[in-house]
Structure formats: structure tokens, C-alpha cells
């Protein structure tokens, strides 16, 4: 892996991009900067506009307003083939009449890669996604996951400066997926200049692979930050609940470092990055975010909530215990080995002061 000169250091910038279908905006005033060489994960509910954002970068859809830049070029009016992006689309869109190898070679040939190199790079890309043995198959002769891997190989083979991945691993099993994640990671280390915009609905994928995560909701960007920031100190309840699971408790502020949840007074260490303790802050309503795995059974923590266990679900490595407290369900993920209450039992859960994050909304 040596040459990929065209790719050097080109970030992506959305400037007030609005995309509309039949008058309804499915991407609205979208502002986002992905820095050169960065891996940005795009998270958001189904239909929130993630694919649309990618399509705007690839040039498949023209924004009604706003500009898209790649590096220092304004590409808004550029045709897709001049943008030097590689994309894996959600439905793969493999060329049905070409064998796997030809599918992967397509982009290379389109870019006039010397003939000698094509075969080698095709083999390399297929090997990377574990599809080396399927080069002579037609797409319709592959399973869903195999097709997806070919689509990924096809985009990787051209080593574009910008890689747009729309749920590229959604059809793969956990093991293969983590293998592929490792491959992508390795690739990114080898080609640190490649900028990656990555749509996923898998938390672990987003958290482990991405440098930063952008959370979208209903055509708009909600929050951007490093995985750590979003996970530990989200600003809004949407991002909080979308990145990882979260208990969002409606509380009222009760003075510096204190909130009230039902009858219980809770201590919180961080007032939340953007919390504005304005004049009426003393009694203002707020939301407290506590991650389920930060909640332990029993009353050992700083903040103790008491209620009735309403559900216990075994999830492999953990049990998820739901406890109803003051009319709200508080969920705790406890290690599988911990002993869990029975449904209907009275139960206490607790969490440390620094694990409660006060949100803006």
C-alpha cells in the first residue's frame, strides 16, 4: 500500500446542506465537518437522513441549498466520478452481470489502474473481506453477508480519499463483523489520510471505530463529539439515549450539585456541560442521565433509589433489571454473576454521584 496521492488530507464539510424530496426536507441545514483522516460515525434512527447525507457527499443527490466541500474543493456541482469517493450503499448495488472479481475491479479499471495492478489489488481487497474464494461467482450466487462484503471490497479497492460507508457490516455476524472492524481499523492506520464517514446502528462499531460520532434525528444534526464525550457527557437526552442505553430521569434542580427525583434527593457531580444555572434554576425541571451499567443493585452507592423489580432479562454477559421507582422504570445492567431480585420483589438500586449527568433538555 503505497500510492494514493489524490487522497491526501481531504476532509468533508457540509455547509448548511438541505435536501428535500417533493418539498419535505429529509436533511435540513446540515452543518458538519469531518476532518481529513478522521473516522466519523453517523448515528441516528431509521429515516433520520443518514443515507441522504452520504448521498449528498457522493453526489447522488443535489442539495436544494448549501454546499458540500471535499478538501478545499466545492464539489456541490461536481459529478460523482470526479469526487474521488468510495461508497458502500445500503443495498450493495452489486453489478449483477459481473463476477465478483469484475465488480471489485470495476472502480480500478474506471480509474485506469495499470492492468498488472488490478488483479493484485482485487485479490487483496477480496482477501481483506474474506471473500478470496468467491472471485468467479456472480452476485446472485452469494449469501447476503457475502454480497455485502463484496460491496465493501469494491469500495476499498479503489482506495479513495473519502470513504462513505452506509451500514457496511449490517449483514454480518458479530464475529465476522469484529474481524472486519479490525481490518478497517488496520486499513485506516495504513492509510491515515482516508477520511471515513460511516453510518451504523451498531454502538460498538461506532464507539470503537470512530474518532467522532455525529448523532442525527429527523433530518437534523443533534450532537457531535468523541464517543467518550457522547457517552459520558452527552448534552441532550436524544444523544444520551441513542448512544448507549440511558436512564433519563425527570428531575428538578434542587441547588448546586443536587436534584430531586420524586421524593428522593440525588447528588450529581457534574452540572452538565451546558447547564445554565439561571435565576429560576433552583426549581427548574431537568433530565438526569444515568447509564444502566453504572447502576448497581443494592444501596451501596451515593444515590439510592428504591422500588419494585418489574423485569429481569438475561442478556448473555449481563442481566438487565428494571426497577420501578416513583412511577419511572430505572434500568440497571448488572453482571451476569450478580444475584438478581425476582420480579415483584422490592429492590434498591444505586449509583455514584459522578455517574449522573444533568442534560440540557
Amino acid at each position: 500500500m503505497s500510492e494514493h496521492t489524490s487522497a491526501r488530507g481531504r476532509g468533508i464539510r457540509f455547509e448548511q446542506v438541505t435536501v428535500a424530496y417533493d418539498g419535505t426536507a429529509v436533511l435540513e441545514d446540515f452543518d458538519l465537518e469531518v476532518e481529513a483522516g478522521e473516522v466519523m460515525a453517523l448515528l441516528g434512527p431509521s429515516g433520520s437522513g443518514k443515507t441522504t447525507a452520504l448521498r449528498a457527499v457522493a453526489g447522488f443527490v443535489r442539495p436544494a441549498r448549501g454546499r458540500v466541500r471535499i478538501g478545499d474543493r466545492d464539489v456541490t456541482d461536481l459529478p460523482p466520478h470526479a469526487r474521488d469517493v468510495g461508497m458502500v450503499v445500503q443495498q450493495y448495488a452489486l453489478f449483477p452481470h459481473m463476477r465478483v472479481a469484475d465488480n471489485v475491479a470495476f472502480g480500478l479499471k474506471a480509474r485506469r489502474t495499470p492492468r498488472g495492478q488490478v488483479a493484485e489489488r482485487v485479490a487483496e481487497a477480496l482477501e481483506m473481506v474474506g471473500m478470496g474464494g468467491y472471485a468467479r461467482r456472480y452476485p446472485r450466487e452469494l449469501s447476503g453477508g457475502q454480497q455485502q462484503r463484496v460491496a465493501l471490497a469494491r469500495a476499498l479497492a479503489v482506495r479513495p480519499g473519502v470513504l462513505l460507508l452506509d451500514e457496511p457490516l449490517s449483514a454480518l455476524d458479530a464475529r465476522l463483523r469484529s474481524g472486519m472492524l479490525a481490518e478497517l481499523d488496520r486499513l485506516h492506520r495504513e492509510l491515515p489520510d482516508v477520511t471515513v464517514l460511516y453510518v451504523t446502528h451498531d454502538q460498538v462499531e461506532a464507539l470503537t471505530l470512530a474518532d467522532r460520532v455525529a448523532v442525527m434525528d429527523r433530518a437534523r444534526l443533534k450532537e457531535v463529539g468523541t464517543p467518550w464525550e457522547l457517552y459520558r457527557a452527552p448534552r441532550g437526552s436524544f444523544a444520551a439515549s441513542f448512544v448507549g442505553s440511558a436512564n433519563l430521569l425527570p428531575v428538578t434542580r434542587a441547588g448546586e450539585g443536587k436534584v430531586r427525583f420524586g421524593d428522593t434527593e440525588l447528588r450529581v457531580a457534574t452540572p452538565g456541560p451546558g447547564a445554565t444555572p439561571g435565576p429560576g434554576a433552583g426549581e427548574a425541571a431537568a433530565t438526569l442521565c444515568v447509564r444502566p451499567h453504572r447502576i448497581v443493585l443494592g444501596d451501596g452507592g451515593a444515590n439510592v433509589l428504591r422500588g419494585v423489580a418489574t423485569a429481569v432479562q438475561w442478556r448473555g454477559a449481563t442481566h438487565r433489571v428494571a426497577v420501578e421507582v416513583a412511577g419511572h422504570e430505572v434500568v440497571a445492567d448488572v453482571p451476569e454473576s450478580a444475584s438478581t431480585p425476582h420480579v415483584g420483589d422490592r429492590a434498591a438500586v444505586s449509583f455514584a454521584a459522578e455517574d449522573g449527568v444533568l442534560l440540557d433538555d
Binding site: G59, D77, L78, P79, P80
Partner: protein, 265 residues
């Protein structure tokens, strides 16, 4: 969506015009102009006039037009039915069976239409089936002549049809005919309408076989156009041709209005 730059698009359109205008637009324009001229002796026609249309919309011509429309309508519907049926059943045959069907349904266009006309006339001028002298023989011949087109279009489209749709439908409990009616045919609709239009237009313009067959009370318009031009009345013939084409395009327009959501574009 293929050419993204404005300049490129204009270039493509220019090339399109260069091919399209002399090859398709001008001949039609000439006919249209001729239909409005009194004579055309030099490079350009002279004497704009509407008299040719007056005679082209006379009772007899209108009757011929209606004959043509009825014939074409019936022939294209029949051809579409037979052709689609044949294409569908051919698709479920093995490779060799399909080849055979292809060849059989191709035959009518492989026979010079003069011969089709004569052969049909010979075959149906003798008992037990006496069709000569009736309008049915014209419709029969037209159907024979255009079925191949319906068959071809539909079977080409079938080859591209994704089997996943039919499978999904079947798994939802749809019987084969229901799958056919609600899934396959709608998905084939773009091709079906294309085929119907093709058949209709062809039948509207059919002359060689019709000449051999048409009964006195069933004279299609092309025969009349031929009769007019054949005696040198080019301009009246042109006017009749314009009427023929106008009627055809109207019907084609209507057919193309059969919107189908099976097309992606």
C-alpha cells in the same frame, strides 16, 4: 443522471439533434408540409392550402380511419394477450422449449407480409372457415403480424424480472395466478405498454398484407393513402398520412399515460 455537467449535457443534446433532425424530424416535417401545399416542384413547396385536409376528413376517410383504429385496437389487444401468454409460458419452459417458442412466435415476421396476406387469404377462403370478404380476416392477419412484437418485448422483460418478487408474493400465500396478476404483470407493465404501443402503431400502418385482404366494407386508412398516392395525389395522401399519424400518436399518448410504478425513473 449520467452526464453531470451542463456543457456535457448540451453536447449530448447537440449530437442527439444532429441524428434526430435529419433522420426523423425532417421526413415527418416534409409530409406535414406537403399536406398543406398545392404543389412542390422546386426545393420548397408552394401554395399553402387546407383543401387536402378537407378531403382527408371527409366521410369516407373518417370511416377508413375508424376502421384502422378498430382493427389496430383489436389486433394489438389480441396480440398482447397471446404474446404475453406465450412469453409467460415460454419462460417456465426449459431452455430448449423456450428456444422453440421463440422461433415459432418469430415466424410471422420472418414471412414477407405479402405472403402472409396471400396465405391467410388462401387458407380462409375455403371451408370450413370462410373469412374472406369479412373484416375478421383483416384483423386476423394484423394480429398474426404483430403478435411477434408483443411476444418479443414481453419475453425480453421477463428475462430481467427479479424472481425475488414472485417468491415473496408466493410466500405470502399468493397463488400463481394471483402472483401473475398482482406482481408479475404490474412489474412487466412498462414492457407491456411498450409492446401494446408497438403493436398498435404497426397495425395502423400495415399495408402490404391488408391490400390483399381487405373486404369492401372494411378499408383501412393506409390502403386509402396508398390509393391516393398511387394515382399521384401526393398531397392528399400526405394529409391522410398526417391524419393517420395524429390518430396513432393520440392513442400512443393514451397508452403511455398508463402510469406504472414499476419503473424506477
Amino acid at each position: 443522471m449520467l452526464v453531470h455537467t451542463r456543457k456535457g449535457r448540451w453536447a449530448v443534446w447537440a449530437v442527439f439533434a444532429v441524428v434526430f433532425v435529419p433522420l426523423f424530424a425532417l421526413p415527418l416535417l416534409v409530409i406535414a408540409t406537403a399536406s398543406l401545399s398545392t404543389n412542390w416542384s422546386g426545393a420548397l413547396p408552394s401554395g399553402p392550402t387546407g383543401v387536402h385536409y378537407a378531403s382527408a376528413t371527409r366521410g369516407e376517410s373518417l370511416a377508413a380511419l375508424s376502421v384502422s383504429l378498430q382493427t389496430a385496437l383489436l389486433a394489438s389487444v389480441a396480440a398482447l394477450a397471446v404474446g404475453t401468454w406465450a412469453a409467460l409460458s415460454a419462460a417456465s419452459l426449459g431452455r430448449r422449449g423456450r428456444r422453440l417458442m421463440d422461433a415459432l412466435f418469430m415466424l410471422p415476421v420472418a414471412v414477407p407480409s405479402v405472403v402472409v396476406g396471400l396465405a391467410v387469404l388462401v387458407a380462409y377462403s375455403r371451408p370450413p372457415v370462410l373469412l374472406n370478404g369479412t373484416r375478421w380476416i383483416v384483423m386476423l392477419a394484423h394480429t398474426v403480424l404483430v403478435t411477434a412484437f408483443a411476444y418479443q418485448s414481453v419475453s425480453a422483460a421477463l428475462a430481467r424480472l427479479d424472481p425475488a418478487y414472485a417468491q415473496a408474493a408466493a410466500s405470502l400465500g399468493a397463488r400463481p395466478w394471483y402472483v401473475l396478476w398482482r406482481v408479475k404483470l404490474p412489474l412487466l407493465l412498462p414492457s407491456l405498454t411498450a409492446a401494446a404501443g408497438l403493436c398498435f402503431a404497426l397495425s395502423m400502418g400495415e399495408l402490404s398484407a391488408t391490400m390483399m385482404l381487405y373486404p369492401p366494407d372494411w378499408m383501412p386508412l393506409p390502403v386509402q393513402i396508398f390509393a391516393a398516392t398511387d394515382r399521384g395525389s401526393l398531397f392528399t395522401g400526405s394529409a391522410l398520412a398526417v391524419v393517420l399519424m395524429a390518430a396513432t400518436s393520440l392513442v400512443l399518448l393514451a397508452v403511455s399515460r398508463i402510469r406504472t410504478r414499476a419503473s424506477y425513473r
